[in-house]
Symmetry: C2
Subunit: 285 residues, 2 copies
């Protein structure tokens, strides 16, 4: 595809590859990492927000139980994300996320959350960029959350992070312009919303897409239905010892329809246990 | 700003420059070009859409009178844009816009609309890119409309075009995935909405911003309020002979508040008549 004049040549601007984040570039168990982050914040500010207690999902999250949030919809979880940091300027929010990524640790591995990225996917991102692909994140997670650390961790700059968004409001505070986070969900970048988000932000059809759950089904369909060579890949979580093993019955990263259709769509199903010698970078050292 | 180690050095990823389109990169009189394009389409399909006649702005546009649309809000005009091409796939829409940009002619100059771009701004875009700036369009106009020709005309790739958006819907037609335009307005990229659009799409604060109307005020404020050196510039339309002359009382590209505040904000006010030797590329030949 990169050999000029060859039959499958793809011009550089069309070399677009889109990656889901949770479960595709980093782990997502026992709960999406951003959900844990948002619930912790919600717990810290709960005293000042008695209204949180009126919503069962928020109330449970504050009490340390994320199961209702995980049993809910993507919108439910994004509403929790929105409520947890509403009223902050984007600079304040960025500082909080930045601190989180340097300090918060995943309980199972006692490692930074950002240590739980997949070494083979880092290599794949670098390989594609070496071949002049643009690599994008297209995730149901919050764009603003991922942007804080995506460049450092994945080499993906802020403007190539597509995700769900919380409404923001431009205003002046003491004569200085600021952007303030509201509580309201703006765009849900999941399922068909991923295709819409790709269209809105990138404006081109990807030629390669990488996911791990049914939330990636439409993105995989969209990327692999165009003319010319295409690549769709599903990360199948099969390694309970080194990572986690889950698919059809998981509340997190449920994978069923996309797995069923993978053979006839020509999508590669990656078997984490069998195919990956190393999962996390710290295991490679 | 580009001299590494210098006191004003700006790293490459932060070299973001944002440009309004209508009235800043190309002309916008006697009506925004996209509005003329959309009204023409609405006229073509009006027979099949009796509901258009129920809306005074649409009815007037079909009859060739754009004054009510220009007297209305940005939302009014975007609703006209949405209604004019609803139900088309984005490929179909792209083909129509592509054909328009190759054939439709501006009545005053009998030139293609895309010939009415400003030569000095093309040079500015190239100059900034030569200095490793990312140049973005941030326009109240439709992102999908501009993306069709922005790369060819301005050298700005699709993913660097931020604009207003019409809702789209992913679906399968005859087993093939398509993205279909709806009639509904999604995001209005004007005024404070430009700052929100910059945040949503780029995720960084620009260090230079270029506009020509009060719809660019918040973008100019946002870009020029950060730390370090900043540049804000307003194109003031002062040349009735070679282009148009208008500001405070214009229904198109009204410029009043931003003009008043330019001196104390340190924004450059460009006097088109005095400062530009050439307006359009065809005049330079």
């Amino acid at each position: 595809m990169t050999r000029e004049g060859g039959p499958e040549f793809v011009p550089v601007p069309d070399r677009i590859a889109t990656f889901d984040n949770d479960g595709t570039l980093w782990s997502e168990q026992p709960a999406y990492f951003q959900l844990t982050f948002a619930a912790n914040r919600m717990r810290q500010i709960a005293e000042k927000h008695p209204e949180f207690g009126e919503r069962p999902i928020f109330k449970a999250a504050i009490e340390g139980d994320l199961r209702p949030a995980l049993a809910g919809t993507v919108r439910d979880r994004l509403e929790l994300v929105g409520a947890s940091h509403a009223g902050l300027t984007v600079e304040e929010y960025t500082a909080i996320v930045y601190n989180w990524h340097l300090t918060a640790r995943h309980p199972r591995f006692d490692r930074l959350y950002t240590d739980l990225v997949y070494q083979p996917m880092l290599e794949l991102l670098a390989y594609l960029r070496d071949n002049r692909f643009q690599t994008y994140i297209v995730s149901g997670g919050g764009a603003e959350f991922m942007r804080v650390w995506a460049e450092e961790i994945y080499g993906i700059p802020r403007e190539r992070v597509v995700g769900s968004t919380i409404k923001v409001k431009y205003e002046e505070r003491d004569g200085e312009p600021v952007i303030v986070r509201l509580a309201e969900v703006e765009l849900i970048d999941d399922g068909a919303g991923k295709v819409e988000g790709i269209h809105r932000t990138i404006g081109r059809r990807p030629i390669a897409a990488f996911g791990n759950s049914d939330g990636d089904y439409e993105m995989l369909r969209w990327a692999t239905s165009g003319r010319g060579r295409r690549l769709g890949l599903i990360v199948h979580h099969t390694d309970a010892t080194r990572e986690w093993s889950y698919d059809r019955n998981s509340r997190v990263g449920r994978l069923s329809k996309a797995l069923d259709e993978a053979p006839r769509r020509g999508w590669v199903v990656l078997d984490m246990k069998a195919d990956w010698r190393v999962i996390y970078p710290f295991q490679a050292r």
